[in-house]
């Protein structure tokens, strides 16, 4: 369970997150909102790249904000990036095995290979990532995110720029993450069909504030959400 209380982030005069309070229970949860709503900022706070002005984050009883950022991976925090960051000069296996975890030796190798197996997509562990296409690189990142006994997985627009067929495969992979790892997964994406296909619950951010949360189908029909995305009738 991920509990966020009154989280505020300011960049100079801009308030990127404005007193955000939210709880993600379990399974796969969506986080959506228009551009600049603060979704990636929220992920950056959890990763430790951005220090919040105020607020608290508790994940499965641990205080994430007081943890050194490079220690969070060992604790079980995983993330993928909006612009995919698989390491080109390493093999698929090395990309996955580089994740910091408490596994050692043979267990670590078996776990990395199982993660590559899990994401599918015809990935060969020995292939160099530099030779792969965009879709497969995304899968490498997802494989790294599910390796090493994760507890909390953050996926930042994993389907951005992918063709529909690869998005469909990615959706099935993401849907399988809770069962495969038991981790709480938070998905940020603009592709509403992906979000509704994958997430049981969804929260909506707009200008750094939480404007709706609940079961995905209900949230996507919510009047405030429609207004945030499409504007109001008067404007039109």
């Amino acid at each position: 369970m991920l509990e966020i209380t009154d989280l505020t982030v300011r960049y100079g005069g801009v308030t990127s997150l404005d007193g955000m309070s939210l709880t993600f229970e379990k399974g796969t949860c969506g986080l959506i909102g228009p551009n600049g709503a603060g979704k990636t900022t929220f992920f950056n706070v959890l990763s430790g790249f951005v220090r919040p002005a105020s607020g608290a984050v508790r994940a499965f009883g641990a205080d994430l904000l007081t943890m050194a950022h490079y220690r969070r991976a060992r604790w079980g925090l995983r993330r993928t990036f909006q612009t995919e960051q698989a390491i080109e000069e390493l093999s698929v296996y090395d990309n996955v095995a580089m994740i910091s975890s408490s596994l050692r030796g043979g267990a670590r190798r078996a776990d990395a290979l199982a993660a590559i197996e899990f994401v599918g997509g015809g990935l060969s562990p020995l292939a160099k990532v530099g030779t792969l296409g965009a879709g497969q690189r995304r899968l490498v990142e997802v494989a790294r995110a599910v390796a090493g006994q994760p507890r909390l997985i953050l996926l930042d627009e994993p389907a951005a720029g992918l063709p529909d067929s690869e998005t469909a495969h990615l959706a099935s992979v993401i849907r399988g993450i809770p069962e495969h790892t038991g981790a709480l997964t938070v998905l940020v994406d603009h592709d509403m069909s992906l979000v509704s296909a994958v997430c049981e619950t969804t929260a909506v951010l707009d200008f750094g504030r939480l404007i709706a949360s609940g079961p995905t189908a209900a949230v996507l029909r919510d009047e405030h959400v429609m207004r945030a995305y499409l504007g109001t009738a008067e404007v039109l």
């Binding site: 969070r72 995983r78 960051q85 698989a86 390491i87 290979l113 199982a114 020995l126």
Partner: protein, 354 residues
């Protein structure tokens, strides 16, 4: 529960098969070529070379370790150091002092020199590692300059007393001893090659395991490295320490090669030339380090033998670095085979037309 367990064990079998795949050497032909070249350098080359070239090839072996360390910093981690010459001098000084002061076996002394150099290098790195690019290069260049000044004052040990081991005499100074099993120049050349091979294996082992993965991740994307739980400062420091260690060992071998060390033979310029040849050789490949050492030590020897001034080399290196930075970032080791292929194609075309 049993269902899950069977699945797990099935997955483990698949994993075992994949593991066998991973353990196979990646490029068996490369490995074979490397082994043959090393054997040639060890057993055939000494009998083919004059004493003049044996001395210079010993230098090539020593400096290939230095450029290996520099290539590791520049190519794998992205740290531009202009102070590797100073690091080498620290290693040489420490080894010379220990060789005069103690009766320890030579191989032990060069390892100790490496460790001392690693320690001093690490102390310098603690603040320097937080800087990037130009600033790191400037700081390390100033270090190299400062160390040249320090050396000119305290001088290399020549068997005198006290901490510096320098007695101010210009004649009748005792030579720095060599290992008992490698007293002659040819034997000492073999010793230097063996040390270089061990250092290359040490670095290769690092690159193929966890630190290598961490360095690759840091060089491409620091956020991704952090998100994967890589402690960036620690791994940068590790790379710096490893480079300082092998450079210190090289300094120890250099002390035994030169027999008499004079501070006047070590200049700040060496550090700059080192970066130039490392870039020209190629910093992304281990072979690049060997080519860099050949450029730095064998080429001047050739020119000198022909009666030409080796100052021409500085112009050549300048042009070479420009060329690397503009058209061939992976250096000669990558560019040369490609150019040869192109040339071969051109010649074939001409032959066919004629």
């Amino acid at each position: 529960m049993t269902g899950v367990d069977t699945e797990r064990s099935a997955a483990a079998t698949v994993a075992g098969q994949r593991l066998a795949l991973l353990r196979r050497p990646e490029r068996p032909v490369h490995l074979l070529v490397t082994v043959v070249l090393v054997l040639f350098a060890l057993f055939a080359l000494p009998s083919l070379m004059s004493l003049y070239y044996t001395g210079y090839m010993t230098l090539v072996a020593i400096y290939s370790i230095v450029t290996l360390g520099l290539g590791l910093l520049v190519g794998r981690v992205g740290l531009y150091s202009l102070g590797q010459g100073a690091i080498l001098q620290i290693g040489a000084w420490t080894a010379a002092r220990l060789l005069f002061a103690t009766a320890q076996p030579f191989p032990i002394v060069i390892i100790e020199a490496g460790l001392v150099t690693m320690l001093i290098g690490g102390l310098i790195a603690l603040p320097a590692i937080r800087l990037r690019g130009l600033y790191l290069a400037l700081i390390t260049l100033m270090l190299a300059g400062a160390f040249t000044v320090v050396l000119a004052t305290v001088n290399f040990p020549n068997g005198g007393g006290g901490f510096t081991g320098y007695n101010g005499q210009q004649s009748h100074i005792p030579p720095i001893r060599r290992p008992s099993f490698a007293g002659t120049d040819a034997a000492y050349y073999r010793f230097a090659v063996v040390v270089a091979v061990i250092m290359f294996i040490l670095v290769y082992a690092h690159l193929r395991t966890r630190p290598g993965r961490a360095w690759a991740a840091i060089r491409q994307s620091e956020p991704a490295a952090l998100a994967a739980g890589i402690n960036i400062t620690f791994y940068k420091l590790w790379a710096w320490g490893l480079a300082a260690f092998i450079t210190g060992v090289a300094g120890g071998v250099l002390a035994g090669r030169d027999v008499y060390l004079y501070s006047i033979n070590f200049t700040t310029q060496d550090s700059i030339i080192l970066l130039a040849v490392a870039l020209m050789g190629g910093v992304y490949s281990l072979w690049g380090a060997v080519i860099a050492a050949l450029l730095m030590q064998l080429l001047p020897a050739f020119l000198q033998n022909l009666g030409l001034s080796y100052a021409w080399l500085y112009i050549l290196f300048g042009i070479g670095v420009l060329q690397v930075l503009t058209t061939a970032p992976a250096g000669l080791v990558d560019q040369f085979p490609k150019d040869m292929k192109k040339l071969g194609g051109l010649i074939m075309k001409l032959v066919r037309h004629a």
